[in-house]
Symmetry: C2
Subunit: 253 residues, 2 copies
Amino acid sequence: MTKIDIISDAALKNGIRQFLETAPDIYMAGVSVDTVIFGFHHDKLKVLLLRFGNTPYFVLPGGYIKKEEDLDDAALRILQERTELQNIYLEQFYTSGNISRSNEKVAVELAFKMIGTIPNSNWFGQRFVSVCYYALVDDTKVNPVTEAFFTEVKWFDINKLPRVLYDHDNIIQKALKRLQADLDEKLAAFNLLGETFTMLELQKLYESVYQKKLVRTNFQRKMLSLGVLERLEKQYNGKSHKAPYLYRFAQTV
Amino acid sequence: MTKIDIISDAALKNGIRQFLETAPDIYMAGVSVDTVIFGFHHDKLKVLLLRFGNTPYFVLPGGYIKKEEDLDDAALRILQERTELQNIYLEQFYTSGNISRSNEKVAVELAFKMIGTIPNSNWFGQRFVSVCYYALVDDTKVNPVTEAFFTEVKWFDINKLPRVLYDHDNIIQKALKRLQADLDEKLAAFNLLGETFTMLELQKLYESVYQKKLVRTNFQRKMLSLGVLERLEKQYNGKSHKAPYLYRFAQTV
């Protein structure tokens, strides 16, 4: 089960105040990072979103790049801060830089009014170009963490997203398309299915990512033709001979 | 033939001074754009590079994002300024943001000393995260333009690159890999082969991008299986019946 924390109004105000005081010294201005964390378990594809302050709006887990930090390291740190996930495979897929992506500044200002803080800092008034990464994880292994601006961390079904701020909706759709295009190639890297798995488990993963039912025989033929799967010998343990074959990812040299 | 302009030292100094005075008002700080322009004609794949000042170093055609300009528009504008190419198909493929990419600041400072200008501005001392795009063009249609920092614009064989500054070498290699991966899909968009073309012309394009010889029969089978080519009826014009078939890209609905 996903743990859902709610943080207090006072802690929220304090967190924001502290952030705004120090942000310009710590972070690069004008560039942000957003991560689309897809969660898979059983046959559902979900996306991890954070509730912005105590508003009804959600955003992607994101943050800023420290002045003395590599871009990829920033993405990993941000993900770790929000999910406690480490050593995760993060793929950079897009950088979003339209002027219009900040049109929802109004909503953010509203959010701050609701919180009761009127920031002197212009940090959030800046235009940000956002470098976007995606990951695909087993959502049962994620331990979402709330802090500063975010009062709730929650998995949403990809087809039942809440209202999201900025252009994060567009970023989620772009990430999904890229995941679909990359899945064959990145499958082993996502490390999602455990040491061994059945063809049916693999098919359920594909169906959740492609958002449609696949024909079993075609799917099996396609997967075997990729040359990345290794079929294990059946263990004759006295149980049913109808037990499905187990597969694992072939070791690459 | 590619036109090569050399601009004078005085024009160069003046251009740099003017740029440094106005840059912070015009452009976003901390984010740059670099474009890898692949040129193809006959069977060579080339890359367009600019000579930095009057140094022996070259850089990719790049620039900065105006404060009121979309990221993609900035990339198109920069390309147009350097090559006079318009309506070109530019593909964003990577954002480079390691700290170490600016390690060659020393080289840039050296360059400025050689030019004789010691800039008061810290514009070039900033850390830049660079959003990278690539394009594939017919190099005979490009009209390279020199201005401000760049004293020469030149096509280089992909296998005979000069010394390039920053991490531009790495960016070129990443762009080539992405071009190879995307070629089947983007082929028609690059608009590179004229209205009609032979299978051999297409094969030469692929061989230049993949940097290896391909087997004619396999190549033909693969290309036809993509379903993007339309074979035209041979024109019986009294000449040799051995004239090769002509192809064009099928109209997509």
